[in-house]
């Protein structure tokens, strides 16, 4: 079995400032990896480099494609990379507005991604859109409403449906529960956990919320100043942190 994603020494600078430096890891099928660190630690830069939104200065991102095996994503042609991002990959943005088309109906938002991979039959597309809205707990009678008429939590669930409808194997998530009420967060976490298990998804989740990674991620990477300072099993890193920065991070969480 190949690793689904092999990340090798990914480095990105903004002039003199380090975005992320020498980040390497392997992600295996079915694994969820959390990336934590404070604002400016480089976790969002890393996610942008991994998910093809930004070109790193150095390094390699090797993805095990369905038909051609491991390929360097950075060396792919633009159409190849776009196809990969529409079919096998999904990107869930922190702000649903960045991942949704606000002027298109909820059903249209989900159907659009199906059409991008070749679905043409209107009835099938609509049926699959309704099915997916149901899976993310959006009632069928809201299918024709635009996302602008939805609450923040619903918009986030719609974004997830739009992303997962094509059956991707790898999902990148940037603060997926950020900006949501805690009660809405819990529901979203449960939904994501169920989907990860049922679809056998692998995921990279960037967040600053340690409670989210504890419940969602199998493995954890801690970043500071663009570098990975510690990595391991999530519960091991949180319960027995080795690096001074991780110890500070864990001991700074308010207990409720």
């Amino acid at each position: 079995m190949n690793a689904l994603l092999q990340v090798r020494k990914v480095t990105k600078s903004y002039g003199d400032r380090v975005g992320c430096a020498d980040v390497s890891f392997d992600l295996w099928p079915g694994e969820v990896m959390g990336v934590v660190g404070e604002s400016g630690s480089g976790k969002s830069t890393l996610l942008a480099c991994l998910s093809g939104q930004m070109a790193p200065d150095r390094g390699a991102v090797i993805y095990d494609t369905r038909d051609r095996g491991p390929m360097d994503v950075l060396a792919m042609s633009e159409p190849e990379r776009r196809m990969l991002m529409r079919t096998d990959w999904a990107l869930v943005h922190q702000t649903p507005r960045d991942g949704l088309r606000m002027g298109v109906s909820a059903g249209g938002n989900v159907g659009e991604r199906l059409m991008a991979v070749g679905a043409r039959h209107y009835g099938d597309i609509r049926a699959r859109a309704v099915d997916w809205l149901g899976r993310v707990e959006i009632a069928a009678d809201r299918v024709d409403d635009p996302p602008s008429a939805f609450s923040g939590g619903m918009q986030q669930r719609l974004q997830i449906a739009r992303n997962l409808v094509t059956g991707p194997r790898l999902v990148f998530m940037d603060e997926p529960t950020g900006g949501l009420d805690v009660s809405v967060q819990a529901r979203l976490l449960d939904l994501l956990r169920g989907l990860v298990r049922e679809m056998g998804l692998s995921a990279v989740i960037v967040t600053h919320d340690l409670a989210v990674v504890r419940l969602l991620a199998d493995r954890l990477m801690v970043m500071k100043d663009g570098r990975v300072v510690e990595a391991g099993l999530t519960d091991q890193v949180l319960d027995d942190p080795q690096h001074g920065y991780t110890q500070l991070l864990v001991s700074s969480v308010l207990q409720v």
């Binding site: 819990a186 199998d218 493995r219 391991g232 080795q242 110890q247 500070l248």
Partner: protein
């Protein structure tokens, strides 16, 4: 099934002047199939620390830990994840779950993670909840709202829902009434009978005497303080 040799643990507190705390040295034990071994020793002797290292939750500073053929101290995270999913069960003292997930789902989850069909997993979860006297009216509610004793029984059900070949039990009978305590002790006896290797912490001396074949005094592995 569990083999521990020359195991040591040291905590280094980087934000407290790099204080070094030696908590364990030269720990060793073995647990075979169908055997239940109790960890004993005063509070603070390191019983939980040892259990956590065997579970892969704490890193070993030195020494060897082998569980069901996996070198826990040196394994990659994904090997530990696989070990925990398939072979190493753990009943902790506290239930940690996603809020709002119903009790029956919480209990069925280890089976669902193994790919067991949903109906079958939920059926087995329900049978265990029933056996542990969790009223049916609570099955669809999140255990975060349950009493301490109920949460603990949900935790136990979750630990026994899959026939793990190795089980770690941290105070499985604490805060249980006599009826439920009896159920838990029978679950342990049944697990032994099917060949599970069990390592546990039991403050309840009577329970320990009934289900445990041997005791290991963790106090013997406590390093002399100040010697380090």
């Amino acid at each position: 099934m569990i083999e521990v040799e020359g195991l040591g643990k040291r905590f280094v507190l980087h934000n407290q002047g790099g204080a070094v705390i030696e908590v364990m040295a030269g720990a060793h034990l073995r647990v075979g199939r169908g055997e239940c071994v109790a960890l004993t020793g005063a509070s603070g002797a390191g019983k939980s620390t040892l259990m956590r290292m065997i579970h892969g939750n704490y890193r070993a500073t030195e020494g060897r830990i082998e569980v069901a053929g996996v070198d826990v101290a040196g394994a990659e995270p994904r090997e530990i994840i696989k070990l925990r999913r398939e072979r190493l069960g753990h009943v902790s003292q506290f239930l940690r779950v996603v809020p709002r997930v119903p009790a029956r789902e919480v209990v069925a989850e280890p089976l669902l993670a193994l790919g067991v069909a949903r109906d079958q997993a939920l059926g087995r979860a329900e049978a265990l909840l029933k056996r542990l006297n969790i009223p049916e009216a609570l099955w669809d509610l999140s255990p975060t709202t349950f009493s301490g004793g109920e949460q603990q029984r949900v935790n136990i059900a979750r630990g026994f829902v899959h026939d793990f070949p190795v089980l770690l039990l941290d105070e499985p009978t604490a805060s249980l009434d006599p009826g439920n305590r009896e159920v838990v002790l029978s679950l342990i006896e049944e697990a032994k009978a099917r060949g599970a290797a069990i390592l546990g912490i039991f403050h309840d001396a009577e329970a320990r005497a009934r289900v445990c074949d041997r005791e290991v005094d963790v106090g013997a592995f406590t390093p002399a303080r100040g010697a380090a």
